[in-house]
């Protein structure tokens, strides 16, 4: 299992699990959903509406909206701006969905 976390310089808080497309991933308190996915080596967050292209995290500061996923049932949620919480359910988003 890929783990891209860097231990140097910080101490992480409590760990817990969240679910991404049915797969359990380890997360730590203070990590965003995007960070948890990237740490596990998952790069495709959604597939685009028109061309069905894969997209992942790009700007990382909440502007580009490329990291939109279905988080706890809510589509178009920016993974880079959403803190991971225990038991959180995340799904790869297909196209644009009305919320």
């Amino acid at each position: 299992m890929v783990n891209r976390r860097v231990e140097k310089g910080v101490q992480r808080g409590k760990s817990f699990e969240l679910e991404v497309d049915g797969e359990k991933l380890v997360a730590y308190e203070g990590e965003t959903v995007a960070a948890v996915l990237v740490a596990a080596g998952r790069r495709t967050f959604r597939w685009t509406e028109k061309k069905k292209h894969p997209r992942g995290m790009y700007c990382g500061i909440g502007l580009c909206h490329d990291c939109m996923m279905v988080i706890n049932g809510v589509p178009n949620t920016r993974a880079c701006q959403t803190l991971a919480t225990p038991g959180c359910r995340v799904k790869t988003q297909r196209g644009l969905q009305e919320r």
Binding site: R4, G9, V10, T32, R43, T44, G56, G60, N76
Partner: protein
């Protein structure tokens, strides 16, 4: 609200500190969970920093400003996770927090919206594994996660050196840094920065780190294409001439899985545009910026603007401008006499004069040259959200579109979720080049509320003019 400040980065915090010290009642709105902005971004709760030294000089500077903020904290109402979506006549603004949207009235407003990485379209730039330099930095610095194994850094300016240091220090392999400008210009930068020891210190520190880590630093090279099946697998770089146009025969392909692209920053002028402030196009400062007087007041009454959203100059300038604006507005609100305000502004004015010189030299090295905007092919997406290709934009121009907003109407470019932030800056240059016009004459994408995507349910529950929040 007596004074509302939009953005809790260096400029907004400095403004809040000065205004609150003068006795103004301040409300500070920020989109993030914690104050600090991008440069002084703080860790989320859960992380414990064990060695602050390795987090770089900005981290320390941020802590210093935030501790000043702590001293006035009880006089400032900080509204985190607050997204401003409309600014209207009569000193009204609308914002939402969570599921609630409000309108409020203010006497003075200071906009400190910051900046973001300049997006540049090139073939493959939408592939997973391509990050903006700032996006990659946010992961490495405050989430302590390496977004890949083998990195290529491409772009211009000292941020690239800082990021290379951070990645290498965290154990990542930086295959190379492609710097589009001429690196020997950096020595001119250092010479011109005499007196600004803090900044010279940073540059030397990072350059030394790059040398020590054995990271190849290629002057006058740009990324021309990212390739891969479903994600980045290789990157093509080329040597460029003085206009940043690739030289034939210099292309080379690198095996990398992660690309961090940083061609400087674009001022976040959405809020000043929404407020209908007058703007001018200033390529050396990053693009469209609000016109201001030396009290940081815009052309709209009661609206001030400071920091990178008024032209890229970095956190040190933002802090001093924030102080000046905070004091100027406090004087206008009757909390300070003209003499008091002038005396308190004096140190900031002096520091700004010194920093100005550095800003000019830095800009000349890193300002994008025309070749940067010639990388997109017919099928390259120029609008990431609406998936509009360069070919579609060219067709609209051939059909008679004359400016940015006409292309927007004909193609949907700029109508997606990022609201033109990702496509606008480069498309302005690209459309101008196609039309053989100057970039300012093709205009900018009109900003209309909502300035950010807002869930319909929240909009439906919007409360007009709540006097308290």
């Amino acid at each position: 609200m007596e004074m509302v400040i939009l953005g809790a980065g260096p400029g907004g915090i400095a403004a809040a500190v000065e205004a609150a010290r003068a006795g103004v009642s301040v409300t500070l709105l920020d989109e993030n969970p914690k104050p600090g902005g991008q440069i002084f971004r703080q860790f989320h709760d859960g992380f414990q920093v064990t060695s602050p030294g390795m987090l770089g000089p900005d981290y320390g500077r941020g802590q210093k400003l935030l501790s000043q903020f702590d001293t006035v904290r009880e006089r400032v109402e900080l509204l985190d996770n607050a997204v401003v979506w409309a600014l209207t006549e009569g000193n009204e603004l609308a914002f939402y927090r969570g599921d609630a949207s409000h309108s409020v009235r203010y006497k003075k407003m200071i906009i400190a919206a910051g900046a973001y990485d300049r997006p540049v379209p090139f073939p493959g730039w939408t592939l997973p594994g391509v990050f903006t330099a700032g996006g990659a930095q946010s992961l490495v610095k405050t989430q302590r996660i390496l977004p890949g194994e083998n990195f290529l850094l491409a772009g211009t300016g000292p941020l690239q050196l800082a990021l290379a240091n951070q990645i290498a220090d965290a154990g990542g392999h930086v295959v190379a840094i492609a710097e589009a400008g001429r690196i020997d210009n950096w020595f001119g930068l250092i010479k011109g920065a005499l007196g600004q020891w803090q900044l010279i210190g940073d540059a030397v520190h990072y350059l030394y780190g790059v040398r020590k880590a054995g990271i190849p630093l290629w002057s006058r090279h740009i990324i021309v294409e990212a390739r891969g099946h479903g994600q980045v697998e290789e990157a093509v770089v080329a040597e460029v001439d003085r206009n940043w146009r690739p030289k034939p025969g210099t292309y080379r392909t690198l095996k990398v899985d992660t690309l961090c692209v940083g061609y400087g920053f674009v001022p976040s002028s959405e809020l000043t545009r929404l407020a209908e402030c007058e703007h001018r196009y200033e390529p050396l400062l990053g693009g469209w910026i609000p016109v201001r007087n030396d009290h940081m007041e815009t052309t709209v009454a009661d609206v001030y603007a400071v920091g990178d959203c008024t032209g890229i100059a970095g956190s040190l300038v933002a802090i001093e401008e924030g102080r000046v604006a905070g004091l100027a507005a406090a004087r206008r609100l009757g909390h300070l006499t003209t003499k008091e305000a002038r005396e308190r502004m004096a140190p900031s004015r002096e520091r700004l004069a010194g920093l100005q010189r550095l800003r000019v030299i830095l800009d000349r090295t890193s300002v994008p040259r025309p070749g940067l905007y010639e990388l997109a092919r017919e099928d390259t997406l120029v609008c990431r959200c609406e998936e509009i290709t360069f070919g579609e934009v060219k067709a609209a121009l051939a059909d008679g579109a004359m400016d940015m907003n006409e292309v927007k109407r004909m193609t949907r470019m700029g109508m997606g979720n990022c609201q033109g932030r990702m496509c606008g800056p480069a498309m302005q240059e690209i459309i101008a080049a196609q039309k053989r016009l100057s970039p300012d004459s093709v205009g900018y994408l009109n900003q209309r509320p909502p300035a950010r995507p807002i869930p319909l349910g929240v909009l439906a529950g919007h409360r007009e003019l709540a006097t308290t929040v």
